[in-house]
Symmetry: C2
Subunit: 470 residues, 2 copies
Amino acid sequence: MGNGFLYQQISEDIHAQIAAGTLKPGDKLPSLRGLSRQRGISLTTVSQAYAQLEAQGYIQVRPQSGYYVAARPTTLATPEMATLKASPALVGHDALIEQVTSALRQPGLVPLGSTILDASLLPNKALQRLIQQSSRQPEAYTYAPAAGHEALRRQIAQYSLDSRRPLLAEDVAITNGCMEALHLSLRLLAQPGDVIAVESPCFYGVLQAIQSLGLRTLEIPASPQTGLNLDALREALSQYPITAVVTVPSFQNPLGCCMPLEHKQQLLTLAAQHDFQIIEDDIYGEFYFGNPPPTLYSLDTQDRVMLCSSFSKTVAPGFRVGWALPGRQRARFLQLKRMTSLSTATLPQQVLAAYLGSGAYARYLRRLRQRLAETQQQALPLLAEVMPSGTRISQPEGGFVLWIALPASLTGLAFYEAALAEGIGVAPGALFSTSPAYDHCVRLSLNMAWSPRLEAALHTLGRIAHQQLT
Amino acid sequence: MGNGFLYQQISEDIHAQIAAGTLKPGDKLPSLRGLSRQRGISLTTVSQAYAQLEAQGYIQVRPQSGYYVAARPTTLATPEMATLKASPALVGHDALIEQVTSALRQPGLVPLGSTILDASLLPNKALQRLIQQSSRQPEAYTYAPAAGHEALRRQIAQYSLDSRRPLLAEDVAITNGCMEALHLSLRLLAQPGDVIAVESPCFYGVLQAIQSLGLRTLEIPASPQTGLNLDALREALSQYPITAVVTVPSFQNPLGCCMPLEHKQQLLTLAAQHDFQIIEDDIYGEFYFGNPPPTLYSLDTQDRVMLCSSFSKTVAPGFRVGWALPGRQRARFLQLKRMTSLSTATLPQQVLAAYLGSGAYARYLRRLRQRLAETQQQALPLLAEVMPSGTRISQPEGGFVLWIALPASLTGLAFYEAALAEGIGVAPGALFSTSPAYDHCVRLSLNMAWSPRLEAALHTLGRIAHQQLT
């Protein structure tokens, strides 16, 4: 699928000059127009190259003045375009994912490599009471409809109440977690060989699902602040026949980024102009620290968005209850669901319907958001203190993952291995792309209340990073 | 994929002569050798044609004498070769399945159109106690491994103890019901365009799953006594590149047939000779009235069989817990499972592990088999009495479905509609093939204890059949 974009080449050239010391911190870069004339390339291309370098933390924009080489960047992204066709390299990527995720499941670890919330944050006691209630209802033992338990679908519709696009129970299709919702959406929208665009870096499960269906992945750069880079998407659209875009607009895994409202609107406009579909993974959408971000689905007036979500992150990973809003494709979605797994287990659906219906879900989420925000407020300054100079850390406005770029001489895999040896799980950046773009990164999950144990773990991570520098 | 087999043409010619009255009940047919010479066709082809007519109940074999037109056949099958490519006709078949299965889910029906056991037979009380126990364990709320809850895999391995091929917990992969096990097995073994052979008639969910994956279906005639017709399979193998055979060797749905041991061995030999894989759907394997039939998996010495099963028929439909024995393909199976639905809900797995572990499962199944056999013993003579002459009914040695061929002037759909209007569900034969071969058939589930309500329902079905004759 080509050797990447022209803007990436420009961006890499400038990065090489910074790395070689030709360009030093504080040096001013050529203006957009100046570089455009100098290299004979379009203003758009220069602007994209600078946007990428800025997202990577290598340069900074000073309003009314221009672009400068950054002194010590605080945020990052290292977007890269990659393909995901079956290849020996990909087998290696799959094997790495299997090896790392299996190691991270070891009991006893400080589980900062996992996107499951710590059990102490979850409402297990409330669920236990509701399980006992549901177990007395005969329907707990019988098949739920393929679309899902009706009371749960009604509760999801009511809870998601959004004046932009009100939901009905009939709009909701229950699935075996978000993964099945994504899997069915991909199967519904794309045929083998079709190109699916994703944010880069991207949750490895999505990369693997796309590959396993014989689809081709196009990784589009994403910024740790604003998510999917729309300029890069526009350029990709001019080159490739993109069937669908899979995006996590709110608190993306692993970046933690949130797409601004105007970007969401632009993405919907692009979808209409270029006739592609959007699969919106909203699994982290409830984890906002400020105002609830609107979903693409709620802004969509043309039925181009299929939303996928789940209770796995918020309430109960073990329940495996997710849902999709498949829009006008509902009948075909349900047919595929029947042919894939018939229906979803009944009892967990009953329990969740009762939990949402009692109002406890909304109250629990309010408290959960506060606690996760508190953890992040404690962790960020500590990490800034303990991690070596040259480390860059995202500052997400929701979710519970931090994206960390280690100083250039470190690798995420070596850092992950050393952390594991000290009983701490972190997720190496290499999991999140089939390209080597994030080999120096790690994802750190702040998935628990602030505690001495967590504080000690962050100190240990700082020590490890310093040790690996020397 | 051609217009069917030569043997089918012969079989249809003879059937046409019987239907026209040219051949009358009791008339002797030409000998195998005679017809072979007369038509200039192979003995195998004649033998297959006669086997099909016999399976359909149109002719009978008298040992040491020859083949005769049947007077009043008691068993039947109307196998037919069909293709399942996406086509307007197929959309019609899908629509029919959706319409009928949705109507059969109406509450209040005598549910003889469903393959779910009546709740009064199921061990819901015992499960309720175990649910309450499991709900107190923290792990009920966390993800199970993709392969499944370890204790349940161990219990399945222990329960399935078969000296021919002992199982280990590691051999078992838990799935969201048998449907997901079948779905993943098909994805693992076949690429879009590949030919998958199935028994005809066949559970419609399997026909749809094959189609939804872009695979091609080849319906191979099956007999209500001995299942898959191996001569027909041999002929198909000589014509088509068959990648895999999906078979239900024990108490097939909808025929109720059980493949004899020597047929199982021949099928395995064929698989080795022609290099195809076998997906064994063993979901009804526990429902034997006599001796437990050995699975193909237990007889397989070459790792050609992937077994799929479930607790949905035996214990708890609503739990959605099934399993696969993927053999040497285990690692790839689990990877596909992760990409499709990550893992299966934890609590139902814990409950089933405890239920099997306590020995209650084995005791419950012994009693269940007795009760289902009793129901069949009551129902068969009653049906023989109340159904009009010309009706043919299978006599399975396990399972809980009867396959009924109505007299030639009736159709399964009209019978189903009239039964529905009287509050009784039955499944029209048209669901079980994309060909019209079973349009005069219905599947009747004896999925409850014998009761005045069931007795009255069978009387009503008899009355409906008589009414539709006139």
